[in-house]
Every structure is written in C-alpha cells, then in structure tokens.
C-alpha cells in the first residue's frame, strides 16, 4: 500500500507546466489565436488610449514589465494591478484598471514569466496547500492532483496564471487573476478575500513561481 501512495505522487512532482490554453477546446483556442476575434483586444485598445492620457507623461514602453510581476517590494507581494494603481486608485475590476493592466501585459506577450525567489513564496505556498471552505479542499487538490481530469463537464487545468487578465466566456468580459482566484474560493464555499488582499497577492506570487516561466498570453480567452 505504501509504495502505491508514493507512485501516485510521482506525476505530481514530474508535472510539466502547461498553460490553461492546452486544456481549452478548439473553439476557445481559435478565439485566442486571432487578434481580431479575441474580445480581450477591446481592452487592449482601450488601455492604449488611457495609457496615452494618464501614463505616457512618465512612462515609455512597458515591454517586459508584466513579466516581472507579481514581485516582492518592501517585503510584500505586489501585483501588476496594484502597481498600475500607484498614481490613481482606480476601482478593482473597473474597465479602466483592467484595460490598463491588459494593455501593459499584452506588451509582454510571449515573454516568460519571471520566477520570484523560492524563499519569497513560502506564504503563498502555504495558502495554496491550505484546505479551505465547506468543501475542505486546497488549490492543490484540483490543480496539482487532478489537472486534466473532469469536474462535471469542465476540464480542470493546472491553474496557471500566465493568461491573465483573461477574457472568460463565463464572465462575458475580461477579468483579473484575482477575480478568478475569488471564483475558486466561492466555489469552495470559503470566505472570499477582497481584491488586493494580502492572501491573494501572496497566492499570485506563488503561482508565478510555480509557472516556471510559462509565456505570457494576455489577453487570453478561457471558458
């Protein structure tokens, strides 16, 4: 019995990092592949206008910036959204903030996500493996152990962060990674942290470490 348990662990340890795109249907993949049909590009266009209006006075090219976030600043995990709010506190999940974030992220499309130092992701890792909610499940239960398996009609992905902000067909609009994380917690019947909560930031940081340099796809399309 004991060594069966050990064998079951092997695929987890040997898990190759796969983008959520790999688990998507043909139709979703086609939608993401076309820069015209991808509805997330509407936010990129909008973000470009906003950037020229509000940010271009100080900032030139944002190429590669999104690949460096989330990262640790002053001992705390800081996400791209947080950084973009540094001058104007735009509301979380507002079209304005999403547009700017997506515009910045889009400029790093295809670049590998940087890997935060392993020592800095301990808090996030604990949260990732912590059971929560009435379902009493941790992130790892679905996204490490059962990635590729079915949950009802859905295929579980590895829960990789490289596609965000992402246009989700379920939302019928673009949304941030934190919105996605909150949706998971809601599904677990767990307490849902507020946007910008330290827990979510630390989780984002751990996910960036866990992604092992997957390429940025923003704005991606997901179901």
């Amino acid at each position: 019995m004991k060594w069966i348990g050990i064998l079951a662990l092997v695929p987890v340890l040997a898990m190759a990092q796969r983008s959520g795109l790999d688990y998507s249907s043909e139709e979703v993949r086609r939608l993401q592949a076309s820069d015209f049909e991808n509805p997330g590009m509407l936010w990129v266009d909008q973000g470009e206008k906003l950037f020229k209006q509000h940010c271009a006075a100080c900032h030139a090219s944002m190429k590669g910036v999104a690949a460096r976030y989330p990262r640790v600043e002053g001992g705390k995990a800081v996400t791209l959204e947080q950084k973009i709010r540094h001058q104007r506190p735009m509301a979380w999940e507002s079209d304005e903030l999403l547009a700017l974030t997506t515009y910045v992220a889009h400029q790093s499309r295809g670049m590998a996500m940087h890997r935060p130092a392993e020592s800095s992701v301990q808090k996030g890792r604990e949260e990732y493996f912590r059971r929560r909610g009435q379902m009493n499940l941790a992130c790892a239960h679905c996204h490490d152990r059962h990635a590729g398996d079915k949950l009802g009609a859905e295929t579980l992905s590895q829960g990789q962060p490289n596609g965000y902000p992402s246009y989700r067909l379920e939302w019928q609009k673009l949304g941030s990674l934190q919105r996605r994380l909150r949706a998971c917690m809601f599904g677990l019947h767990a307490e849902v942290p507020a946007f910008g909560d330290e827990l979510l930031n630390e989780l984002e940081l751990y996910l960036a470490w866990r992604a092992q340099g997957l390429p940025i796809e923003a704005p991606s399309v997901r179901r």
């Binding site: 015209f36 509805p39 509407l42 019928q172 609009k173």
Partner: protein, 105 residues
C-alpha cells in the same frame, strides 16, 4: 465608453467582394443575470447598420441571445474608395458609432 474594432481588407480592386468584420464592446445584458442578489437590467444592442458612402449596405437585428461584445462579419461588393459608417443602438437608447476607410484601387 463605446468602442469597436473594425477590420477592412486592403489591396481591394473595384468589383471585389470584401469581408468586413466588426467587434463592438457591449455587455449585452440579458436581464436575467443577478449581481449581489439584484437583477441586472436588460441592455442589449438591438439594431446595427453599416453605410458605405452614405448608402446602407448592411443591417442586423440583435437580441439577448447574442454574446457580449458581439462579433459580426458580412460581405459586400466594393465599388470605390469610401467610408464605412457603423451605427448601433441599445436598449438604453445609447447610440454607438464607428468609422473605417475602405480603399479601392
């Protein structure tokens, strides 16, 4: 903010049949969705049209069955260079307009 993306082919010759594609940013609320227990009011684009040099070449009736940020494409015959004027109207009586230039040489 009404926003649309329009794609018009290039290298068009007189008499060519061209494909025009447009994506309009709009939530297309069905009126059935709830947010924090409150019903979100129905608001969908119900009419849209496209004029080519002032003459209407395309008109569509949309409804709540259409997904958010509708993507529409149609074909038309190109005669001469001209402006494509898109117009749409939603349930809140908010009008949207967008313009693209078709170059025929």
């Amino acid at each position: 903010m009404a926003l649309a993306r329009i794609q018009v082919p290039t290298g068009v010759k007189p008499g060519d049949v061209v494909e025009i594609r447009v994506v309009i940013q709009h939530p297309m609320e069905t009126g059935y969705r709830r947010e924090q227990g409150q019903r979100v009011k129905r608001n969908a684009i119900h009419s849209m049209a496209c004029k080519y040099n002032g003459a209407e070449v395309f008109r569509a009736t949309l409804s709540t069955g259409v997904a958010a940020n509708p993507y529409i494409r149609f074909f038309m015959r190109a005669k001469e260079s001209g402006d494509l004027d898109f117009w749409w109207l939603d349930d809140d009586d908010v009008e949207g307009r967008a313009k693209a230039r078709l170059v025929v040489a």
